[in-house]
């Protein structure tokens, strides 16, 4: 399905994240499968970028709640979402944003 555009040489972490996130959003908009969304190569590349991208993911969650939860869990090891809220994307996003603030992230 998707190819990840080549990385530009002078790209900052934020620029790289924004490029990958845009590719991921565009390529997965029609999907219902949360596993297929997370299998996308851009999403997987974001996970490999590690803890530095957490503020950018939290920024994305705040502006447009989306399925960033697997990436956040893979990077941080945290799981702040209550079991009863599984699938409620706005509540899941809110739980991660609260977690981010509690852990000193700024975005």
């Amino acid at each position: 399905m998707a190819t990840v555009p080549a990385r530009k040489p002078a790209e900052t972490i934020e620029e790289r994240f924004d490029r990958l996130a845009a590719t991921w959003r565009s390529d997965t908009r029609f999907l219902s499968s949360t596993t297929k969304m997370a299998d996308h190569p851009a999403y997987q590349e974001i996970i490999t970028m590690g803890e530095e991208v957490v503020p950018f993911i939290l920024r994305e969650l705040e502006t447009e709640p989306d399925h960033w939860f697997k990436a956040l869990r893979a990077i941080t090891g945290a799981q702040p979402v209550e079991a009863a809220d599984a699938g409620n994307v706005p509540k899941m996003a809110k739980a991660w944003l609260s977690w981010g603030r509690e852990h000193g992230y700024q975005w």
Partner: protein
């Protein structure tokens, strides 16, 4: 956007489909068919990442999807034609058999789909067959008095 939808589902370019809601990130096709517009339903192995009724097998197989819709009162059937006393759903799957999508039939006989995080549309069943969702692999129906 219409152009985006039609690029993903090229059959729509020759169809008289209609967009029936704005884009949304809150619910998906399975939730829409199940009557829930607050949650994203999917049998994700990570139980916190999507809603799936706890009593239903949680794996990405047609068997699990049929089990889900049986629990909602539907039974497998062959025909997709509208019957006034029944409502139907359709399950789509990719060539590897993994479910991709679900749609519900309207009283007009046409079908309603929430396209992932895109819009809801009203369409003919074949309009969204293709590389994105594969093909219809199961039709199910239930009496209208169960809805």
């Amino acid at each position: 956007m219409v152009e985006e939808i039609e690029s993903i589902f090229p059959n729509l370019q020759r169809s008289r489909y209609q967009v029936t809601s704005p884009e949304n990130q809150a619910y998906n096709c399975v939730a829409w068919v199940a009557g829930d517009t607050l949650k994203w339903w999917w049998p994700d192995p990570d139980v916190s990442d999507a809603y799936w009724p706890p009593e239903i097998t949680r794996n990405e197989t047609l068997v699990a999807f049929i089990e889900l819709f049986r629990a909602l009162g539907y039974a497998p059937c062959e025909e997709s034609e509208y019957e006034p006393d029944h409502e139907r759903i359709a399950i789509f799957a990719a060539a590897d058999g993994m479910p991709t999508h679900a749609a519900k039939q309207l009283s007009s006989g046409r079908w309603s789909s929430q396209l992932g995080k895109l819009e809801d549309i009203e369409h003919a069943l074949d309009d969204i067959c293709g590389s994105a969702y594969g093909s219809v692999v199961q039709i199910m129906k239930r009496p209208t008095n169960l809805s």
